[in-house]
């Protein structure tokens, strides 16, 4: 909703504009950055780099060449290894839900970085797709069960345009090559794509990524769109139900969109990090253009003596809907 507010505010602030701005480039003292997410669905990887000077997407970060990584699970050591000199240290370790973890990274000449987190239990959710219209698939989230370590639920997903065989549908028509190109872009079996927009009228969904979208309301079921994800905070887990939302998908007699949704139970650190990261991205780059109300958002970090994040999460993936 906030972006919606700001964009519409521009209608009033007819004259606001954007100009290039020169910043003084004082020397930046590099700080160590550790990024390490813990999930039972992923092998644990530690990324260690030095911070640098901002230069857009071309910014390159030097890896921390020499460091020692230790991970404890409820106080017991489970990992103790040297960091990879290229900055990314993969391991075969997967955490257990409900346990508490502590990460320590010793960098000679710099000091120790440390952080702690929990890994929540896998969320138990019911999501079904009760209806589809020509351009949108509608979903209903009717149940959320999580453990107390979960402070937020993130719903993300992928979509894939699937070829419907005419015989299977009992139809006689088959698309021409041109029609197949239009529908599938020349690829009958495209890779799933991240869903970039969700539509819901619910005010119990975190409005951090909401924006007004005055088009096709009847098909979408809402005039508010949420970029990239739906985020529900813990206190709204019950109140938000049933949550009805829709995502875009063009359905024809030859093809339909199918979706795989992921419900991620977030630890507090993961929740704060992801939300603040989104807020910062929303307040910089192209998203900030023309908006006089942007704010400087500090991305959450729980790393003592450094930057970055060490956080646990646990995801449930629906079958194809």
């Amino acid at each position: 909703m906030s972006r919606h507010i700001a964009l519409l505010a521009l209608m009033v602030v007819l004259f606001s504009c954007n100009v290039d701005y020169k910043m003084k480039h004082d020397g930046v003292e590099s700080r160590a950055v550790v990024n390490a997410l813990l999930s039972p669905q992923e092998d644990f990887t530690v990324k260690l780099f030095w911070s640098g000077v901002y230069s857009g997407d071309s910014t390159r970060f030097r890896p921390v060449a020499n460091a020692r990584i230790r991970l404890t699970e409820d106080g017991d050591k489970v990992l103790d290894l040297a960091a990879s000199p290229d900055g990314t240290t993969p391991t075969a370790f997967r955490p257990t839900a409900g346990r508490r973890y502590r990460l320590e990274v010793d960098i000679p000449g710099y000091g120790r970085l440390s952080a702690s987190t929990e890994v929540p239990e896998i969320p138990s959710v019911d999501i079904r797709s009760p209806k589809k219209n020509e351009r949108y698939s509608h979903f209903e989230l009717s149940r959320i069960e999580t453990d107390p370590n979960t402070t937020g639920l993130w719903i993300t997903g992928t979509s894939k345009n699937v070829w419907l065989h005419p015989i299977a549908l009992g139809r006689q028509a088959t698309p021409t090559d041109t029609e197949r190109d239009i529908i599938f872009g020349g690829d009958d079996d495209p890779e799933p794509e991240e869903i970039d927009s969700y539509h819901t009228a619910s005010l119990f969904v975190d409005q951090v990524n909401a924006a007004g979208d005055v088009s096709d309301a009847q098909n979408k079921g809402a005039l508010v769109s949420f970029s990239d994800f739906l985020h529900i905070t813990q206190e709204n887990f019950i109140l938000v139900l049933p949550l009805r939302f829709s995502v875009y998908g063009f359905h024809s007699q030859y093809s339909e969109y199918r979706y795989t949704l992921t419900a991620t139970a977030a630890s507090k650190a993961y929740d704060l990090y992801k939300r603040s990261l989104y807020k910062q991205q929303n307040n910089s780059g192209g998203m900030a253009t023309g908006n006089p109300f942007i704010e400087q958002v500090t991305v959450y970090s729980n790393i003592d003596n450094g930057l970055g994040i060490f956080a646990g999460y646990n995801s449930y993936k629906t079958p194809e809907l």
Partner: protein
Amino acid sequence: MRRYLLTLLLCLPLMLAAQQPDSLKLTIPEVTVKARKPLMLYRPTGNVAVDIEQLKFTPMLAGEKDIFKFLQLLPGVSAGKDGMSGLLVRGGAGDQTQIVYDDVPIYNQAHAFGLLSIFSGEAVQSAEVAKGYIPPAYGSRLSGLTQIRTRDGDREHHRQSLTVGTMSLAGTVDGPIVPDKGSYLLSARYFFPEAALALLRLPTRYGFYDVTGKLSYDLHPDHTVTAGVYSGDDHMHNSDDGASNGFGWGNTAGSLRLESRWNDKLSSTAVLFYSYLNNRQKSKFKDDDTQINDKTNFKTHEWGARMNLEQVVTEAYSLSYGASFSAQRFLPLTTRSIVDGTVNERSYPTQKLMSTAIYLNNRLNLGAWRADIGVRGAMYDNGRNTALSLEPRAQLSRYFGQDNAMWFSATMNSQPLVQFNRYYYSMPIDFWAPFRDDKLQRAWQLSIGGRTRLHEHLMLSIETYYKQMRNLPLIYDSDDFLLERGGFVYGTGRAFGVETMLQWQTERLSLTAAYAYTNSRRRSDGVTYPFEYDIPHDFNAFAGYDVLKRTDRRHTLSLNVAWRTGLPYRLTNEAYPDTDGNPVIGITTWPTMRMRNYFRTDIGYCMERKKRNGVRTWQLSVVNVTNHKNPVSIYPYKGAYKATVMIPIMPSVSYTRTFGGR
């Protein structure tokens, strides 16, 4: 601290040297004013009164005669961000200035996302900002008091006026109810582009309106009752094909005031008031299968009463005393959702604040000396904690004739409220909450200043101050704060400043130049840093020249020039990778840089002509005539930085026609 006190003391002899002790009379003799009226009057201590009538001769933003835009140019007062409607006084935050509209506290003074204030220039009679000595009758804010008064209706003649600005259409009617006994005033303003959006059937609409009404009646030659009401609202709405969503905010305020003169030595004022702020958001959808109806409100209610008595004990000694009471209810974020008939409702805990205060002010007039010695005792109860505050306040003035004076004041203030913004944009959709943990925000301030006439037409005012603040709640997560699970830390603050103002008045020319030096700091988590709106150097000049001055016509050219140091900003050129390797900007939790310096020049030309049955006024303005790119925000963009400019060059025109009157 010592450094600042020392500087304060050093300023004292400088100001003493500027005085001319020629007369000890305090009363201002009646004079025939030939000179142009000044836009404002500097009063002890640090308090400024603005002549609203003169505002029409100054450049206007979007064709609106907005008192707040002018108050922001006063030394020691700032808007915060360029173009906004804040009133930040002497290094204080926006919520540290109490805004009182006809005795009613106002909790959101912004129309049009802060571009305009809610106070229509058609209805306002006077405005006064107290930056230093705040009378003991008022409290509950740390830094300042702004009192806005609506004008009374004319008691002899019926009058009507219509103003068409670039953004709004305003109409005012006033006149006698019973000649010389009572009057009425009704003023309304509407953002007329909304009507155009509606006619064009666009799915997105924005609008605002406000209505001000006032009735005044003499129950008896010594007893006058006044009833005032204000209602205003801003609303944004999208609708299409069975779906709609929108948001808005609005103030409603009402007051009933009885002014009585019991005898030559005793008078009283009794006031009942009510103030209501509603921030809201709603969303609806309906089709054959689904019906959704969601609404979120954030409401602040306040009702209260105030009784003030003015008593003249002797020629040299008078008293002002009284009591006030108010009850506030904060209903934060009540969300009600109806999905196919199933109702879900969630409310954050309702919070309350009861405020009670008694006060006494002793005024002594001893020759050329005048002293105000007062105390305010306040009790605040948030339902869980009761906090007491004893706030002694004093000011001492020494007059040297009618034009020269010097003054000193010492005040203590407390604040039981904090304002915060739930959205991550700094927008005027702000919420209020009472104090926590038995900790009131507290401040004390010392001010010393004076004024002197340097020349027949030239007046100099100078004032310096030091202020310390503690228990400032610095909120970093508004949801956690609302749910009472942290989300804030307590910090301290201090501000030091020097304010000077030069006023040159001749028959045709009015020139005011003001400079303020401010050093405002905050401290939290062991770090001291510049306050978000710290402006070390702030220079403003306003000039008005009557190009044509006849009994039936007046043309005035006006010019405002503002220059100030850029605002502190929390942006570094440090970046580090996120979990996907993309750059995160290393934005610190306190300012690390400053925006480039601010500069703005506004020009206005006002043409006033008396007609047979009223007055016609054209006002042409160009705000930021040099099109200086003053940033309100900076953000990283493709490896470089961009700035958003709120107010580039902005021409506007307004037309006012009044009918009737004398």
